[in-house]
Symmetry: D2
Subunit: 280 residues, 4 copies
């Protein structure tokens, strides 16, 4: 019943892959995936990773996909939601301190935008006068202390709050889920009455960024030449559909084989194709 | 322009007071309040405290309102949202372990319902087999560890989750707000896709519980004899209005004098009266 | 696997029934239902109908349940969400015009509260000066004209808006659903930025009203003596659970046998019992 | 206090204008606006209209802005939310019937995408087998009949539903608001439990479409060269901010001078500039 991914890929000049549940799990990259990515590029196809993640830099993400110690995905083809936050900081904030929640590694995106990161717990309002707050990762800070500090910092100011990953939860192990920074954003929005600025799938900006990079490489590329491959209907598939590209749901991640028909029916989110995995 | 609370009170046989922002702040009971409560009862009026709070027992709440070392509000007239959770546990759960988030003092309501409290962090699922989860207080546990544990406990089970205080934030000091346990409930609902069972204003059950206790004391009492006094439109006033009793907004708490007209216009939540405070 | 309703009923002194999907469908009362209701009362049990409906008076609802031309449910035991709206109008509004959306028959509840109904389309603001707006039924008015009029009447005023039936849809035939007045309320709330006052299940006030009438008849009745029987998890069952009474899900209405386990798992709303129907 | 728009415009190579409340009202284009638009282009600036509207074609929108019978805004610079829906239909649907709600003129976008429009009221499911449903305009159909038909068509199928204008209301006259098709979408989503695909501000796709057309004309254009001018914080300003361009709030439409400071504080949506109007 499911479509063979290998055959399907033949019809597209450019393929966007979600990372978690598609190319890797919490235990690492799935065996065989780097070979698949490498073969697709050998056949002349552009390969992108389009991922809701702001916990580390694209370079460190790329390190996960190596064949004979060489990365198989070009660094500029790894499009994280953190990169969109970086673009926002560069074009809209431009200078000064940016307060953040997350591990120190996630502050990469603030530095890259030419700004000064400061952990939210270390902000002295009058001294640092932060220009905005960025929610990058769910780890690296004391939740009780810093979520409450964030509530008060937002209440007392007009600071925009940027959410660099909209996901509410993520799989920490195949069976254990953790609240992601996008979940903390929901709590903070309820507690402050504000609407924050969210980056990441299903919002189409992340697909637009990937598509326009692909277009630089191939000026004849059209949306109909692009396939988005993901394991989650409510982010990968609905977002790809809205952006106007074809979508393939794989059953190697959060959406189980036994559930997918029911979920498609209940949500009305219909992928163009369903594949068992990218290895089939 | 504002109505005198003293004159207004003359027209009612029974008065429900919110606690925070009406009778007290984080610094303690407002000077003069115990005298007001005492005088109302001397004039034959029933006085109730109707409060979204499950962090401590009604006895400990009553201790705050003393005149010459005597409590001025009868213990059975202190109606906390924790009491509604206690009623639920007694009538719907009946026996066994109940997992909770909160300080040990808040577990009072579980014990009072005849059940065995166990901190969520100490639950061994197969051993304790908890019958439900109760969210009682925002303190007394490690947020990162226990919120994530709670997400997974709910995902893996059908356990009902009881929220014993619906408030999203509370004033820790006059200028600093903390996330209340009702705010954590929002995060947990988003992360699990479940709807929990919430107790507290504006839901009318808490007013119904107070009214029926008042009715035991005075079989002729009608809803039109009751006044709800509160500082928050979206809990005290809208809930009292819906329950069918008169409402007085006081400007001694979260709703500032400068804001109240705009907020009434924007929300369409209209109190029967507006008073400066219960001391005027 | 399912419990026999007949045996189950033996354990309760008082039974609350939802109407649609439990006792009747759009085609009329299910064959055998009036005999069941009659037999329960012959065995000394109190029987109530607890229904989200404000389209007609309790008398007209009672007419549907007749044995040998006699109504089998006492009129005072038919608790509609319209009755709660009537209570609100009587205690909170007290006099003057009330603008309504619905058929003329639904204006019964306004008249009964001692107020003057006026169809929303006929309101001349300065002349009638309506005291509130009540949403009673989805029929009896021109949607385009009157929904838009309602938006503007609410925007220009502080009028409270009462929603006398919270349901979003209802089955017009076994396979065709219509938008109910509670669905129109959602649209009007989005268009005006206001939160209206909603009456009906799952809100506990309707259960409280029925319970206190039952208590008048039997002063020893406790919540544990009451069973709520319904076909919908998100109204009948979650509301009964929250009110602290036992609940039985029947599979004769909106929740199909094939779905109920999945829905209970997904929502975390767990009925005390599951029965095929009230006839088994 | 407010910035002069004329001076402000000097700093930008490309200006995006919202239509309603910025360039025009329900009574027509504001006097002086066509001269402003013409002068900006004479000074070498690109001018775009970026509007949530799918009720008519860009050509008919352009007809409103004429100087000496010549349109002052190039047709390809009028970016309506209807155009995004057209793109979706062309790339994702490709052939067959498309059911729509709206006036016949709004079906333009379906025809332009190479598909066959059919009014939702005329759909015979087995015969037309529509590929999707598009919500285009609030007029041109019987709300009661067709909203209920739409509910049932969606319930019985997997059809994607496209909302070609996300606005909930629009000003029909300066003082009278009507529910827009985006408001009907909210009702339909609540009644069907589905999430539809929405096009229009604040979603960044509409800004992305305008920016990439501008980029075709000027390959050196950067986001920092673009200014979005709008009268609504929650669509124009928050969307422009998120897309990474500068934003100017004008006080000639829905946001009144007396409100704008309070609204900016309450929402945390901060425009780069505030101007009285585009005429100052």
């Amino acid at each position: 019943m499911a479509t063979s991914f290998e055959e399907l890929a033949d019809s597209y000049a450019c393929i966007f892959f979600d990372a978690f549940g598609v190319l890797k799990s919490s235990a690492g990259v799935f065996p065989g995936v780097v070979e698949v990515l490498s073969a697709l590029q050998a056949r002349g196809k552009q390969v992108f990773i389009v991922t809701n993640d702001a916990s580390k830099s694209p370079h460190r993400m790329a390190d996960g996909y190596q064949l004979n110690s060489n990365p198989v995905v070009p660094i500029e083809n790894i499009i994280s939601s953190g990169l969109l936050a970086e673009d926002y900081l560069r074009t809209k904030v431009r200078s000064g301190y940016v307060a953040y929640l997350g591990k120190e590694a996630s502050a990469y995106y603030i530095v890259k935008a030419g700004l000064h990161p400061i952990a939210l717990s270390e902000v002295v309002p009058d001294q640092h006068n932060p220009r905005c707050i960025v929610l990058l990762d769910d780890e690296g800070f004391d939740w009780f202390r810093d979520i409450n500090r964030c509530v008060n910092l937002v209440r007392e100011s007009n600071l925009p709050v940027i959410v660099a990953n909209t996901d509410v939860t993520y799989p920490r192990t195949p069976t254990v889920f953790n609240v992601a920074v996008g979940g903390l954003a929901r709590l903070l929005e309820a507690a402050t009455g504000r609407n924050f600025i969210h980056f990441g799938k299903p919002d189409p900006m992340i697909f637009s960024k990937a598509f326009h990079i692909a277009l630089e490489n191939d000026r004849k590329l059209r949306k109909s030449d692009v396939l988005m491959v993901g394991d989650t209907l409510t982010t990968d598939i609905v977002g790809g559909n809205k952006y106007g590209i074809d979508t393939a749901l794989v059953l190697s991640g959060t959406t189980l084989d036994s559930q997918h028909r029911g979920l498609i029916q209940a949500t009305g989110i219909v992928p163009t194709y369903v594949c068992d995995s990218v290895l089939t």
